[in-house]
């Protein structure tokens, strides 16, 4: 039973990270129909910046913020400088974002090298916490990660559902052309959403570097997981990203623990199943 609890918590940890990475990806995908293949690179970039800031100042929270802001800025620049110039040409945008992802990965290899980094956590996040109900101990930083992902999820949901800008973003997801024909400067909304997606990815990078570790390759790992999460959960919805992340995170960890030989297949079986039965994703809406 202990194994089951630990594996479940591992699954939830992974799900929390996947959610942080995928929510921004999903938002961008839903609004602009752009598959931002540089999303993983933004995550790793945020992670590295966060690591450097924590290394220099010793302030973990500052590192998370710096990682988020750096990736937000990078995301906005990608949209303004490259993708925004190919508006409406989704294939070109996707291909360009692959190029950006490769260039960023090489630049990061140049700056930070090929070693694995772990972000130093403050004392309140270090060590383990005993969970009496389950009779096990678990890494404190991972428990806080789950709380953080949950608050980000709720915060993002409130932002999308309750604010005026959130309503404009939803309108853009529903019918972009109509929103433009009503005089809304959609390009500014695109930049904003790209920056938000970058910020979520960047923070996820720093947190991934705290709870696990980051290294070259982390970018592709999270890009792939974000793709799968969004395909399973349904694009453009915060709830879909959460559900998809939960399913994929848990499935990966259960697979590793109970059927290690087939672990790599599990997520793709889920993806294939969803594509066959509900191609718009579990919480996604069919195209009108």
């Amino acid at each position: 039973m202990t194994l089951f609890f630990v594996v479940t918590l591992n699954g939830l940890t992974l799900a929390a990270l996947y959610f942080l990475a995928a929510s921004g990806f999903s938002l961008i995908f839903g609004l602009m129909r752009t598959v931002n293949m540089a999303h993983g690179a933004l995550l790793l970039f945020g992670g590295y910046v966060g690591w450097s800031v924590v290394d220099a100042t010793g302030l973990w929270a500052l590192g998370v913020m710096a990682g988020g802001l750096a990736a937000a800025l990078a995301g906005a620049l990608v949209q303004i400088g490259v993708l925004g110039r190919m508006q409406g040409d989704e294939l070109r945008q996707t291909l360009a974002s692959i190029a950006i992802s490769i260039i960023l990965a090489d630049l990061m290899l140049w700056i930070w090298g090929g070693t694995t980094y772990q972000v130093r956590t403050p004392s309140w996040l270090t060590g383990g916490t005993r969970i009496e109900v389950l009779g096990i101990g678990y890494a404190t930083v991972r428990l806080y990660l789950m709380v953080f992902a949950l608050s980000v999820g709720v915060g993002l949901w409130l932002f999308i559902q309750k604010t005026r800008i959130g309503a404009v973003i939803r309108a853009g997801v529903d019918d972009q052309d109509m929103l433009r024909a009503l005089g809304y400067p959609i390009n500014r909304i695109f930049v904003l959403v790209f920056a938000m997606g970058g910020m979520l990815a960047g923070m996820a990078g720093v947190i991934a570097g705290s709870a696990l570790s980051i290294a070259p390759g982390t970018d592709l790992q999270f890009l792939l997981s974000s793709l799968v999460v969004v395909i399973v959960g349904g694009m453009g919805s915060v709830g879909g990203a959460a559900l998809g992340a939960l399913l994929i995170g848990l499935a990966e960890q259960y697979g590793l623990a109970y059927a290690p030989t087939y672990a790599a297949v599990v997520t793709f079986v889920i993806m294939v199943f969803v594509l066959a039965v509900r191609p718009q994703g579990l919480l996604g809406r069919a195209e009108a």
């Binding site: 005026r164 309503a167 939803r170 309108a171 019918d175 109509m178 433009r180 009503l182 809304y184």
Partner: protein, 238 residues
């Protein structure tokens, strides 16, 4: 008020891939409401897409007053003074009625959320409902309100009576008349001849992507032969 053209389309051509959809379409809209009539698939909605920049035109110019809109983005055209009530209404399905109005309301305009609620008490009752939970008539009221909140100089309506009950059609026509009387120029694209004739004074008839007739509403009403030839209608008033 004068009859100087406010919106002027000159020699508009539009292609979808290799098919030539609009052929040298020229239209002038003054403060007299203008109807664009024609059967299904003759290019009526393409004219709207051209006006709003939702499809790139191959050649021609679109002027609003003395401002050239031809090269502007859809959002700039709307800001310049065009209001759009599209075919199929295109309500944002994940926004409530209130959110639709709130994100479009402009300060100091003639039309405000309050005025919309006064004009359409039904929308006020349903203000917390999502767009896709509204009836066709309610959606149409919302689509028109949404465009009016921009306080446009020109209001373009694409088949606003499509799929509505006759009583609601009468309401929509009445509203269009009211809007026109308040000084907004109205361009009404319609298949419903009787609704159109009740709302407009001039008519342009489109066949195969070309303007083939320009007549007054009165003349068309009294010409069953023209109605039959271009619109496929039997005797008027049937």
């Amino acid at each position: 008020m004068g009859t100087e053209a406010l919106l002027r389309l000159s020699n508009i051509n539009l292609h979808y891939g290799s098919s030539h959809v609009l052929h040298d379409v020229s239209l002038e809209l003054s403060d007299r409401p203008l109807g664009i009539l024609g059967r299904n698939g003759v290019g009526k909605t393409s004219i709207c897409n051209a006006i709003f920049g939702l499809e790139p035109i191959t050649s021609g110019t679109i002027m609003l007053g003395d401002q050239d809109l031809s090269k502007l983005t859809p959002e700039k055209r709307a800001q310049a003074g065009l209001g759009y009530v599209p075919q199929g209404r295109r309500i944002f399905r994940s926004l409530t009625v209130e959110e639709h109005l709130r994100i479009l309301e402009r300060k100091g305009g003639n039309w405000t959320t309050e005025r919309v609620y006064q004009t359409f008490p039904r929308l006020k009752e349903r203000r917390r409902n999502l767009g896709d939970r509204l009836s066709g008539g309610e959606q149409q009221m919302l689509a028109i309100s949404r465009a009016l909140l921009l306080n446009p100089q020109v209001l373009v309506l694409d088949e606003p009576t499509e799929g509505l009950a006759p009583a609601i059609v009468t309401d929509v026509v009445e509203l269009i008349n009211q809007v026109a009387q308040e000084g907004t120029s109205v361009l009404l694209v319609e298949q419903n001849l009787h609704a159109a004739l009740a709302a407009v004074q001039d008519v342009a008839i489109i066949v195969g992507g070309e303007v083939v007739e320009r007549v007054t509403a009165e003349a068309l009403e009294n010409d069953p032969k023209m109605q039959k030839q271009h619109l496929g209608l039997e005797a008027a008033g049937a």
